[in-house]
Symmetry: none
Subunit: 419 residues, 2 copies
């Protein structure tokens, strides 16, 4: 099956935004067994959009197009597809009603311009947009209208904003694909998520034991993310399940506790579940990560049951006033030190009589480094029920990557204590 | 001038890596005045690479292809281009010497496999790779070999690793483009960033006044992000600068203070600059945003000069203990109330004698809503030097979007006070 993705948007072509749809959709589709053969990005121009869609339809059985469904004058996909396929646009009252409801819920008047989003090409299936006003659109295309040799294809149009596209893909497109374009051979895929070991070490550790399974048809993929590596084990056909199960067993033997999940789950989700099931509580004291860890934890629904408070102690005064860090320790060891990390973790824990206090202090850069403590230096302290441990890391990355990596290291320290 | 980019790599098509070349190259090219008309990604497959290059050459005067120049069996671009254009591959002794030097400098033997990278299609110009072994390749293509109607084109092949590609582009490709493909007409582009008004309202407000300029060649684009809309004004040719300047003036007249930047800048960056230049300080008290705002602010280098502390008061106890919120107010009005937001902002400000205290309390969902205070309810309080204001919003989105939108609203409230 040939699958193509088309991303529309002049801001993409000007390099103003990073096209994250491409990776996200490719990864989602690959996990379902549909490997993307080509991805194309074009600007918000009628001719470019029409040409790209027409060309993809002559080659593919599945074309997914993102963007250009909004209310403004540069949102052209809906019109261009209707023209290309010779379909009339008609107002779909259910979409109009949804748009009205959307603005009612926000106590705002419905701008007249937004009504254009209810224009649907005849024959199209509408995909509900739970997070915005532009619906997704699906058309079964008999493409011989413009290319007689081509195969019939499914054309799926999704709205551009990621927070609208992603839930729509998961809730509506995945069931649609399974129904309309079932894969001929079974496809089994398991992703094991590891923390704390690099991609090449992961590969060195598991490569040898998987060789026979790879010869028998197992596919192994690696995805390196900050301080974590996802291992994707997949196979097709009648023996797919056995192959993947055997591979998972071998990988678990080699990597053991480095594996923190076999679901599409973040480390923060694993932590919240583990704390919840033990009825344990946590206080965070963050300096160099500036709230990043608190934000990750509070992205998990239910985190309020276990996360009592986070203190972003970005100044020395706040470390002293809120966490009880001693002036003498700051003078003698500096704010970025094992001693201060320990006092931050214990201070946070004691203030709320929590079960755990987790603290980080470090130098995110770009400035502030010294010979002794270069940019990237970080101390992570975990105060638990019986003891406090402090780990030292060097994370010499840009500011945002530094935060991500440090957060993963801190959460992994807590996970190892909990699980 | 038609410009296209081709990115090769199976790992891109499986969604294992994010294709950052696309944004980086598009932004670099746009800044030089070459706007990319199409970007294509294909897997490491001979047929896919050949088809993509052949198609691009029939449409474009400039084609930049990334990846597939390395030494392994899936590096196919060099061979495929030579075949496509009917060129012989010949070893270039200067490249072989460079590869030898590269390994000598690292005191490692030169692997025999790497020698293939010195194979150069006849007639190609070699671009020096200062950070790796695979050279870049440039071919002037007389394309009527495979498409008689097409124009002559420049085909530039660059190595895949970003730390090799980027310096090669800046050091070798930029001078080459200026020499070989000088632009006949100038390209001018300005992006205005707005906060607090929706995409369709923005268009309603500015559409009318820009009509004449659009007829004269102005291009207007919109990019909607959570609670902000970017407006892109661009034009080409001799009148480009006048067109864009006139458009900017008209848009500023209509949208006034809603515009917070004409640079590629986030609201958090504007806030840190404004506080810094006034030598003012800020304390954050976050409940429902869970550290998101602190994280945004501390992503800005230099934020430590103005941001004293953030308190993520996720429990009632932490609101009382750290911010001095009164038990009676919690009992009478609830944690999500105008009264508690005000006490949080003032408590944070007073604790550190800061100039500003900014506080948010709300219901992020998915649970916790009531009839009176549904999911998405949020109160934002700003305690300033002379008074405290509290705003009420309803942001009924998923948890992460709720945080983003609420953060923008809080930062915008502060910006309006500052600027």
């Amino acid at each position: 099956m040939i699958v193509e993705i088309i991303n529309t948007g002049s801001e993409i072509m000007l390099g103003r935004v990073l096209n994250t749809h491409q990776q996200w959709l490719c990864a989602q589709l690959a996990a379902l067994g549909y490997v993307v053969n080509r991805q194309v990005a074009v600007p918000d121009s009628a001719a470019d959009i029409q040409n790209a869609i027409a060309e993809s339809l002559t080659r593919s059985q599945l074309v997914i197009c993102t963007g250009g469904l909004g209310p403004t004058s540069d949102d052209l996909t809906r019109d261009m597809v209707a023209k290309l396929l010779g379909k009339e646009l008609r107002e779909d009252p259910s979409v109009t009603a949804h748009i009205k409801l959307f603005f009612d819920a926000r106590k705002r008047p419905m701008p007249e311009l937004t009504r254009v989003q209810a224009q649907v090409p005849e024959g199209a299936t509408v995909l509900h947009n739970a997070h915005g006003t532009a619906p997704g659109l699906v058309l079964k295309v008999n493409p011989n209208r413009f290319h007689p040799e081509s195969l019939p294809a499914l054309l799926i149009m999704l709205p551009g904003p990621p927070r609208e596209l992603r839930p729509m893909f998961l809730d509506s497109v995945v069931p649609l694909l399974k129904r309309e374009l079932p894969l001929e051979s079974g496809f089994v895929c398991v992703t094991l998520r590891t923390a704390g070991i690099g991609e090449s070490i992961v590969q060195e550790k598991i490569h040898g034991s998987l060789i026979e399974l790879v010869k028998a048809g197992l596919d192994v993929g690696y995805c390196a993310r900050p301080w974590q590596v996802d291992i994707r084990l997949s196979a097709r056909g009648g023996t797919a399940r056995t192959l993947v199960e055997n591979a998972e067993r071998l990988v678990r033997q080699e990597l053991g506790r480095n594996i923190y999940s076999s679901e599409d789950e973040e480390l923060s989700g694993v932590i919240v579940s583990a704390l919840s099931s033990r009825k344990h509580t946590l206080v965070l004291a963050e300096s160099c990560t500036g709230g990043f860890i608190a934000n990750q934890l509070t992205n998990v629904p239910g985190s309020s049951a276990v996360f009592l408070a986070g203190i972003v102690s970005y100044s020395n005064e706040s470390k002293q006033k809120l966490l009880g860090v001693q002036q003498a320790s700051l003078d003698q060891h500096g704010a970025v030190s094992q001693e201060v990390a320990r006092q931050m973790a214990e201070g946070g824990k004691n203030l709320f009589r929590a079960d755990y206090g987790l603290a980080v202090t470090g130098i995110a850069g770009p400035s502030g480094g010294t010979l002794e403590k270069p940019v990237g230096t970080v101390f992570i302290a975990l105060a638990g029920p019986s003891e406090t441990v402090v780990h030292h890391h060097l994370n010499p990355y840009d500011r945002e990557t530094f935060k991500m990596v440090t957060c993963q290291q801190a959460l992994e320290l807590l996970r190892r204590k909990l699980i």
